[in-house]
């Protein structure tokens, strides 16, 4: 099968009807598999992994914190991609998927921030530190809020889709810029605070590796969060498509009556 043919089959889902029919069919699979992964992963992590010699039992928070943080960032990336698709190809499903994903991203960011703060209290001795990573997440949260607020504020759904898409593009650039600015800013404040290195333990992408006992349940939780995210976004996109259809039907009715 050529790449073009493959791409064509993917674009078919831009048709709202086709999207609804297909998502209806696959949704149960995503709901159940995400539930299974999360239940198994969290139970495994919570009941059957030993305490860390340094962090004690707080290491168990990792199973929520890391997946939520990953999804918070990936959700924004997904919104960026769907916004671009909307701006270029004008598929309504794409714009509505971005809208549907934003609240999920907000919740993920909130979970990441909350679990981070609860973990930070016993470990760093403070709920909140203006560490670059934490600060960048807080800024991401603000961007999510602005994005959702703009969607809510505009009546016409096509205009709203256009404006929020542009905001998402510009916001992505500024969010990235803020990430580096924040890095610079905190270094400027205190040179390499050694306590903050502890953040490396919770970051999957850093040199300090999470040891195997914690890694497998963590992986399961991450898969569970990804599946849950997909399920939620598919479901909520369906809701948005129906809401848009109601609007269209009502305006047609008003036109006729």
């Amino acid at each position: 099968m050529s790449i073009a043919a493959k791409a064509n089959t993917l674009w078919e889902y831009a048709n709202p009807r086709k999207f609804l029919a297909t998502s209806e069919r696959v949704l149960p699979f995503f709901w159940i598999s995400s539930l299974v992964c999360l239940v198994v992963g969290l139970t495994w992590g919570f009941f059957f992994t030993p305490d860390d010699y340094k962090q004690g039992s707080t290491v168990k928070i990792i199973y929520l914190h890391v997946p939520a943080s990953l999804m918070a960032i990936n959700c924004w990336l997904m919104m960026l991609a769907t916004s671009l698709v909307w701006l270029v190809r004008r598929h309504h499903v794409s714009a509505l998927a971005a809208r549907a994903a934003a609240p999920v991203g907000i919740v993920m960011t909130l979970i990441a921030l909350a679990t981070g703060a609860i973990w930070g209290q016993p470990m760093w001795g403070t709920w909140w530190a203006w560490d670059p990573r934490l600060t960048a997440f807080l800024i991401l949260f603000l961007f999510y809020l602005g994005y959702v607020a703009l969607w809510e504020a505009i009546e016409d759904s096509d205009t709203a889709a256009d404006l929020t898409s542009v905001l998402c593009l510009v916001g992505s650039v500024f969010a990235l810029l803020s990430r580096y600015a924040v890095n610079f800013w905190n270094q400027g404040l205190h040179q390499g605070a050694s306590v903050m290195r502890a953040a490396a333990v919770t970051g999957a992408d850093t040199e300090e590796k999470v040891s195997n006992i914690y890694f497998y349940p963590l992986l399961l939780c991450i898969i569970g969060f990804v599946l849950l995210f997909i399920a939620l976004v598919l479901y909520r996109t369906g809701t948005e498509i129906r809401a848009r259809r109601i609007k269209a039907l009502l305006s047609r009715e008003r036109l006729n009556g």
């Binding site: 969290l42 919570f46 009941f47 305490d51 004690g56 039992s57 707080t58 168990k60 928070i61 929520l64 914190h65 939520a68 609240p103 999920v104 919740v107 909130l110 979970i111 909350a114 679990t115 609860i118 973990w119 209290q121 016993p122 849950l228 939620l232 479901y235 909520r236 369906g238 809701t239 129906r242 809401a243 259809r245 109601i246 039907l249 009502l250 047609r252 009715e253």
Partner: protein
């Protein structure tokens, strides 16, 4: 049943409670809105059918 969490029991339990609470809240709100919108769409569609 619950493993010995040592002196950090509060932190661990709270973070699980907060996270799961937020996730469940998101799920419930999504499903509630989804149900409402779906019912309304069916209502509007039926009305359109009847009126042509």
């Amino acid at each position: 049943m619950i493993p010995d969490l040592g002196k950090y029991a509060d932190a661990v339990l709270w973070s699980y409670a907060v996270s799961l609470g937020l996730l469940i809240a998101l799920f419930v709100l999504s499903v509630m809105r989804g149900r409402k919108v779906r019912a309304e769409m069916e209502k509007v569609e039926n009305r359109m059918m009847r009126n042509g």
